[in-house]
Symmetry: C2
Subunit: 391 residues, 2 copies
Amino acid sequence: MTFSTYEYKERIRKTKESMTQKGIDVLLITDPANINYLSGYDGWSFYVHQMLVVIIDEEQPMWIGREMDANAAKVTTWLYRDNIIPYSDKYIHSDVNHPMDFVANILKEIGQENRNIGVEMENYYFTAKSYEQLKKGLPNASFRDATLLVNWVRLIKSDDEIEYMKKAAVIAEKAMMAGIHMIQEGVRECDVAAKIFYTQITGTKEFGGDYPAIVPLLPSGEKTSTPHLTWTDNRYKDGDAVILELAGCYRRYHSPLARTVQIGTPKDEMRILAEVAVEGINACIEMIRPGIVCEEIEETWRRTIEKSGFVKESRLGYSMGLNYPPDWGEHTVSIRKGDKTILQPNMTFHLIPGLWLDDYGFEVSESIRITEAGCETFANLPRNLTLKELV
Amino acid sequence: MTFSTYEYKERIRKTKESMTQKGIDVLLITDPANINYLSGYDGWSFYVHQMLVVIIDEEQPMWIGREMDANAAKVTTWLYRDNIIPYSDKYIHSDVNHPMDFVANILKEIGQENRNIGVEMENYYFTAKSYEQLKKGLPNASFRDATLLVNWVRLIKSDDEIEYMKKAAVIAEKAMMAGIHMIQEGVRECDVAAKIFYTQITGTKEFGGDYPAIVPLLPSGEKTSTPHLTWTDNRYKDGDAVILELAGCYRRYHSPLARTVQIGTPKDEMRILAEVAVEGINACIEMIRPGIVCEEIEETWRRTIEKSGFVKESRLGYSMGLNYPPDWGEHTVSIRKGDKTILQPNMTFHLIPGLWLDDYGFEVSESIRITEAGCETFANLPRNLTLKELV
């Protein structure tokens, strides 16, 4: 097990506290990160429906999933075997049986059909159809939107979680350095991506790496004008800039990191863009401390870059830690105008002030932890535009 | 672009044909594989809401997505720039603005608010909340469930798609051999996974690899009793069996493959299980041909293994090809009892008769193409339990 039973029980306690505040008796959790957070469950089975059921007056949650995955629940969770409930394969990708019919029947059998039921309305793993089937199967239940309920419980990390993110950062640094080292005129993009993957997963001699929730993002040349392209088997050319956004991952905990590399001589506008972005992120890291409000970070960034005439419409970062594909972000706090979250120690963010213009762009980022007095970055690599002279 | 504009237009034509049959005027596509299939769009941006809108009486579909991803749509799709509609970052992970509010407004602006609108009710990337917001924003529209509409259009592959899957199979073979080669007593699981990833992404000298929709699955020892565990940094021990399920991927097209390795001497029951499963899959590959019904494959399998007293409750395989995380399966045809789909040339399946018992299991699989006369496997590797003698 990844954490002590004590830590899992504390997480359940905090979750129930939030359920009570929101008037929720039964919480149906479908977000794989939330399932892992409360139960320890870990497996690539989230492509079929699975669920953790937290009932306010029951000590342990209940795992409901596909029969072939029940042994994975036995191996990876702290739950009693009686609380692991498998459903048959006839519910898989069927147009007549839906796993939520099974879930509704279980909830009826255990007398939960008249209660206030919380569901994660805005989650990849709770489809529109899931909600329809649950409403059909439990006509007397009252449904509440419990989107992000557990995500908010995840916001402040325990010291053990911070240790995992530090290990993830060691891997992120290694993967970034491996990628930067390889990028050169004539090298294929896929070969750089392969080396990054290898480094992410092999980890260090002391500990191995887990798969990050997002694959390495590697836009180059004109494609640096947009952040979420992956790679091709094209070869880099003299003059190409390459953005690398990647994470290290240790036991599902992430430390993301972004840097930008220039092959050959940078254009003047790229040099300027890089200097502005680095000055901006440095100013933020300087001022971040507990007690300030999230949007103040964005204000510092905005005032710093506007001196050079730059404007960034998109947010500057977000809370992150434990996660599964397709995103390492927690979807709770965003570093942007209007976010009034007060920073507290052991909150963790990916601070990523990317700037994407019409045909070029620059990214630099840090994963940070709020400390007692300020903030610290998980990784420690130079932030400037990395110049790769032609060989 | 990955395919000719002609091929994309043919796909749109077939999609509209199906829309007409189902009485759908406006199809809102959120499945990233379906978006890619019809537009070419490719980027890891599906962790935020994005959509392809196919309107029955408009020539081209419309892409709606996050502002910073609009340049990715310009780079990767065949769409006119006017059909690429970005929404602002204020819609991202916000509790006041939802991207479907933006979509509803666009549909109103272009006069589509009174039509029959198809939505993918059962898809990872169409949340329960998305459906609620659309209904709220378009009270006069009539919503229809269009789950799998485009997936069914994807069922029979073009010759170009088959070529991509063949390339993916070359990568899958290489990755499988690399993994098998490395597995040995004392080796860390993560180091095997890292080598597999490296091989999947670097591909061959002629073409590079893309990221598969599922990471390598590597249960070992007692954990072979369940299929969807990934890896740890533990070291393999004498007597461990290791299941490897992985895919090669070329431009989002997959060829999955599973094999089982034994370190040291196998237990008798493992030897028997392996022989039964291999006999079963061989019998299936022998009989598969166009014109038969899908469930006949399962019957052949069942009759073959029941002679040895084995029973498998879960399905035997599924249609696959183009995909994104979290699944390479197409969610249409399943190889199981009750599936009456008639096999036709250029359908492609992952035939995966895994057997998982209480504390051990065995997997062997092939990706297959239905040919004019029978079927062919994309990869070509021995199917038996691979024995790794201790060194």
